[in-house]
């Protein structure tokens, strides 16, 4: 589903934020991407959605070569990949419902159909009561759920969640992980970036660890296999 081959990314400052990273994520997998701040987790997500281009290497998403992807195809790629952004990127002047329905509007889905889909999803992520509230009226966990709902609305093949439990208390954080696991059970490939070791430890999922832009560990719960990147 997702393949990063010898991917390096150097920013204008000359610092490599990723160097020679190889990752293969199969369809329907749930993967934690861990590592301290600055390890390159967000950079990987940005490469997958073609927000940035790698300095070298190949990025494949659902058999599409992301690096060589024509400009007009980028919107299609982004519809395949739902992203829960670290800073959520929720539009403050729109209600929760309007925020969630936005990707459907963009995709040109009919209003009635879009409305029904959004309602169902609000129900699923447990914030249907906040349908017509504005983001400022919601708690951190509720906003996180809003962001997840928006990432899910186009039924993407892949969900990338960037620190979705960042500022949340433990209970709420586990609630979010449960939600992502449920989504994964329905067949969506999920990659969750986090530095919360408690969550990673309890979930018993595949864990990819990055450090200073290098892949240092890639372990699956049953056969702990170590790889040096």
């Amino acid at each position: 589903m997702i393949k990063l081959e010898k991917v390096s990314k150097k920013f204008g400052t000359g610092v490599f934020v990723l160097s020679q990273v190889n990752i293969l994520v199969n369809k329907g997998e749930f993967v934690f991407l861990t590592g301290p701040t600055g390890a390159g987790k967000t950079t990987i997500f940005r490469l997958i959605t073609r927000e940035i281009l790698p300095t070298e290497g190949q990025v494949m998403v659902d058999n599409w070569d992301v690096v060589k992807l024509a400009r007009h195809k980028i919107p299609h790629l982004r519809k395949k990949v739902g992203v829960v952004f670290q800073d959520l990127k929720i539009l403050m002047d729109r209600t929760i419902f309007e925020n969630i329905i936005l990707p459907l509007e963009v995709a040109g889905v009919k209003e009635k159909e879009a409305g029904q889909k959004a309602e169902a999803l609000l129900e699923k992520v447990g914030i249907i009561n906040h349908r017509d509230k504005f983001p400022i009226q919601l708690s951190g966990g509720e906003l996180q759920r809003t962001a997840i709902a928006r990432a899910l609305i186009l039924s993407p093949l892949i969900v990338l969640a960037d620190e979705p439990t960042g500022n949340l208390d433990t209970e709420t954080a586990f609630g979010i992980v449960d939600l992502l696991e449920n989504i994964n059970k329905q067949g969506t490939t999920v990659i969750m970036a986090t530095h919360n070791t408690e969550i990673v430890g309890k979930a018993s999922k595949r864990v990819i660890t990055l450090h200073k832009g290098r892949l240092v560990k890639d372990e699956t719960p049953n056969k702990k296999e170590e790889k040096k990147g």
Partner: protein, 287 residues
């Protein structure tokens, strides 16, 4: 969906919308007025051109036989379409008819004051000056008036007005393109975050561009309607006064079809102007 976004953008920034509509209205008001003036002036010129006549007034001592002889010799040239003699008596009658509402003017004038005259219609307007020169040779003729002067004066005025009009309209169009461009630019930078988010969730560039371009078109169209409306209404109100002023020249009533045609033309210009200016801004700020 795109239309709703456009309308929301307009509603949420009323002052920018007001500024944009104002400049567009001004542009189309000026376009309308200049069109009226130019069309009016050219129909006045046409009116005079379609009547290539000149009038030769006779001295009081001119004898009837002399006048008759002159009439015959003029009729003999192929440049003259018709000749009509107006005697002193007839002149008085015409004068009385023209001023029948003003007894004071009627009392002042008697048959003796008014000269007899010959009204000559030329076949072509170019021949007027030739005929004029021929008539000048007759000692019994005191004065000749003809419309060549009026026509050439009017034509040069119309040409000057056309040039001034085109210059002013071009400047205004340029100003409105810049103002609309700046307004669109401001709107785009206000929505920079929204635009970035939209792109990240899969919006195509055109999905983001369209509302801005439609907004520009909307301002243009509203401006065209307002400018045309104000100009047409003022023409309507000043109609009776202008009709009196341009006595006898058949301009009024202005045809409604002409006004509709003008509106149609202005709407086309409005769409082009609005779309072009916002499109330029979109290309500049939304890469």
């Amino acid at each position: 969906m795109v239309f709703r976004t456009t309308l929301k953008n307009i509603r949420r920034s009323p002052y920018q919308a007001f500024a944009a509509i104002l400049i567009m209205t001004l542009t189309f008001l000026v376009i309308s007025f200049f069109t009226f003036i130019l069309v009016g002036a050219s129909s006045i010129v046409n009116y005079f051109e379609s009547k290539p006549t000149l009038t030769a007034f006779f001295k009081n001592e001119a004898k009837e036989e002399e006048i008759k002889a002159m009439e015959e010799s003029i009729k003999a040239t192929d440049k003259v379409a018709s000749v009509k003699f107006v005697s002193k008596k007839e002149a008085l009658q015409i004068y009385r008819e023209q001023n029948k509402d003003d007894p004071l003017l009627l009392d002042l004038v008697t048959e003796d004051i008014l000269p007899a005259s010959l009204e000559i219609s030329a076949v072509k307007i170019e021949d007027l000056s030739d005929i004029h020169d021929t008539l000048k040779g007759y000692p019994i003729v005191s004065e000749i008036i003809y419309q060549k002067d009026i026509v050439s004066a009017l034509t040069s005025w119309t040409n000057a007005l056309r040039k001034i009009g085109i210059a002013i309209i071009a400047i205004l169009a340029l100003v409105s393109i810049f103002i609309m461009g700046v307004i669109t630019g401001v709107k785009i930078s206000q929505k920079k975050e929204d635009i970035e988010i939209m792109k990240l969730i899969g919006a195509s560039s055109w999905y983001i561009r369209w509302p801005f371009i439609l907004e520009g078109v909307f301002y243009g169209v509203v401006g065209a309607f307002l400018g045309w409306g104000i100009a047409s209404l003022s023409l309507w109100y000043s109609g009776p006064y202008l009709e009196f002023f341009l006595k006898g020249i058949p301009i009024f009533p202005i045809s409604f079809i002409f006004l509709l045609g003008l509106l149609g033309m202005e709407l086309i210009i409005a769409v082009v102007l609005g779309a072009f200016s916002s499109f330029a801004a979109v290309l500049r700020y939304l890469k």
